[in-house]
Structures are given as structure tokens and as C-alpha cells.
Amino acid sequence: MMNMLVAKPTGVEIKIKKRTLIFSKTDVKGDIVSVSDSFEKISGYSNNELVGSPHNIVRHPDMPQTLFRIMWSKLRQGKEVKVIVKSLAKNGDHFWLSSEIEIKKDGNGDTRHYISYRKPVAKSAIKKLEILYKKLRDIETAHGIEAGIDYLNGYLDENRMSYCDLIISSMESKDRVLSKFTELLRNKVNK
């Protein structure tokens, strides 16, 4: 892994074309193994810089740790995860992507890799999640991650959803086309 300075967020959003398909593959520790060209382009990092780096190289300080904690605990339980994440590009700009994370196992049933299939997110979803994520971040900064997790659970209870439902409901229905694309991409990657 190279030692890199993480840029300060500029607050500028990188717009991603609707049909752009992005994926990244990490090992069990979360270090990047490979990425799609589109991921390099959007993040502004070269393939060399990305491969071998922990995936949080693109972690945006606006993201609540609560989400990553829940994500990792689900993945370790062998559950696939959907999540919407704001990421930080090398130049400090940011981009929002929704990810579906697939678990890749070897012949012994041990997890070897995680593959994250990403696609752009509707503006309405970003608006909604920005408010929730800000609350979560403020709560975990003041009271710790456990408080963040409790709060998120309460929020989901009240809205009668799982986090996964929240993500799905945040995506617009026309994204069904994109889901089809994700499926195609999955097949291509898995070949």
C-alpha cells in the first residue's frame, strides 16, 4: 500500500452518468484487489494507487462509521449487503454510489473476496440519506458507534424497514433497468 495524503473534501459532487457500472473487489481484510476502469476514473486514483490499498482510501468523512460497522458485521455473517455510500475522490470531490456487495467463497466455503457492484444514486435518495447520515455521524461522534447503531435501528423500526429496504426504496423504480445491468455485470465479472 502506498502512503497517500487524503484530500480535504471540496463539497463538489462528481456527477456519474446513469448507466455507468462500477465495481471493486477486495480481499477479506478490505484491501482492494481489482477495480473497474470506471472506478479509477471517478475516484481519480490510478490502478496502482488503488490495488493493495484498504478500501477506505475513498472513505468520505461525512459517512457515519455506524454503516460500515453494520456492513462488516453482516458480511462476516455471510450476508450480502446493500448500502449507499458517499465517497471521496483523490482531489477532494465526492460521489454517491449504491453498492451491492457479494461474498466470494473458495472451495472450502471460506470467504476469499468481496465484490461491490456500484451504480449511481437518484438525487432524492441522496437528499434523504444525507439527513440521516448527518444525524448518525453527530450521534456517534458524541456518544459512540453503539449509540449510532441503536439510533439507526430505531429509525428503521419506525419506518418499518431493514437498512436494505431503505436503500431499495431510496432508489427510483426506473433503476430496475440498472438492476438488470448490475446483473449482467455480475455475470461478466464472475465468468
Binding site: 444525524k135 450521534i139 458524541a142 456518544h143 449509540a147 441503536d150 435501528n153 430505531g154 419506525e158 418499518r160
Partner: protein, 186 residues
Amino acid sequence: MIKPVPTGVEIKLNPKKYIVSKTDRKGKIVYVNDYFSEISKYNEVELVGAPHNIVRHPDMPKIVFKIMWNSIQNNRNITAVVKNLAKDGKHYWIITDFDIQKDANNEIKNYVAYRWAVSPKIVKKIEPLYKKLVEIEQTQGDEESENYLNNFLEEKNMSYQQFIENIAKPTKASEILLNSVKKLFS
């Protein structure tokens, strides 16, 4: 934290909205809905981790909380009428109801409280009693205040719960609404 000074100004609640909060076993807040923040004027960061008495109004007699707490700790839901204090010193009257959530070992894990607006008519009925109880509490102590309430209820041959239900019987519509909100959390 410095307690706000009551201004005597009442906040009018939207009768269609519920104030929801979730606390742990000890009464520490873990979740509040948007309406809770909006009315109490505390934001989520201030509320999460705080004991629920952050919104306790000095006009509330301690005995009411004792009855409430005893009941839910013993796994019995209770309805209570409470005057709460917002951060800006204004107050709001609510009627509250609980949902007791348990873990896999049947131990109490969380309490979810649902509160909705009470009509001024109900407030008028209960305010003089609370006033009297606080007065006794301050001049003669908690025990005397408790005795007074017990005598008051004995005379009516009712428990606190029955007394509240009697004066604040929820309308059919509000009951349906409450039940649907509760389903979300069960």
C-alpha cells in the same frame, strides 16, 4: 446540563402526530423520532444518551413517575398524562403509552413510549391534582405526596391507570392510529 426555566407558554401539539422515543432498560434515550426533536427543541445528539427526565417539568409530581416506572419495570403497560418541558422553557401536555420490548431471554431490553396530544379538558381535570401533589411533596416530602394520591384514588376506588383511562379515554380514531404506529415497533 442546565434545566430550562419554564416560561408558562404551552406548545400546541398536532393531534395527528406522535412523539416517539425508545429508551434502554435504565431509561436512557436511544432513539427519538423527528417530532420529538421538533417539539422538545433538543436535537438528536442532545437527546440520545440522555436520561428521559431531560424533558421533565418541575410541575410534575415525582409520584407519577414512580408509578409509571414501577409499572413498566414489572412488564405492565401504563397510560399517563404528563407535562413536559421543552428546551426553550415552553411546555406541552401529552398522554403516554408504552411498548415493552424484550430480548431472546425474555429480559426487558427497551421501552418505546408513544405520546400524543391531550385535550385542554383533560389537562384541566388533572392539573389541580398534580399541583396539590407537588405542593405536598415540597412541604411534607415524597411519602406524604404518595399518601395523598393513594387516598385520592382510594376514594374513587381506582388505580392511577383507571383514573387516567377514565378521564382521558382515547377516541376510537386515535386508538386505531396508535395501534398502527405501535405495530411498526413490534
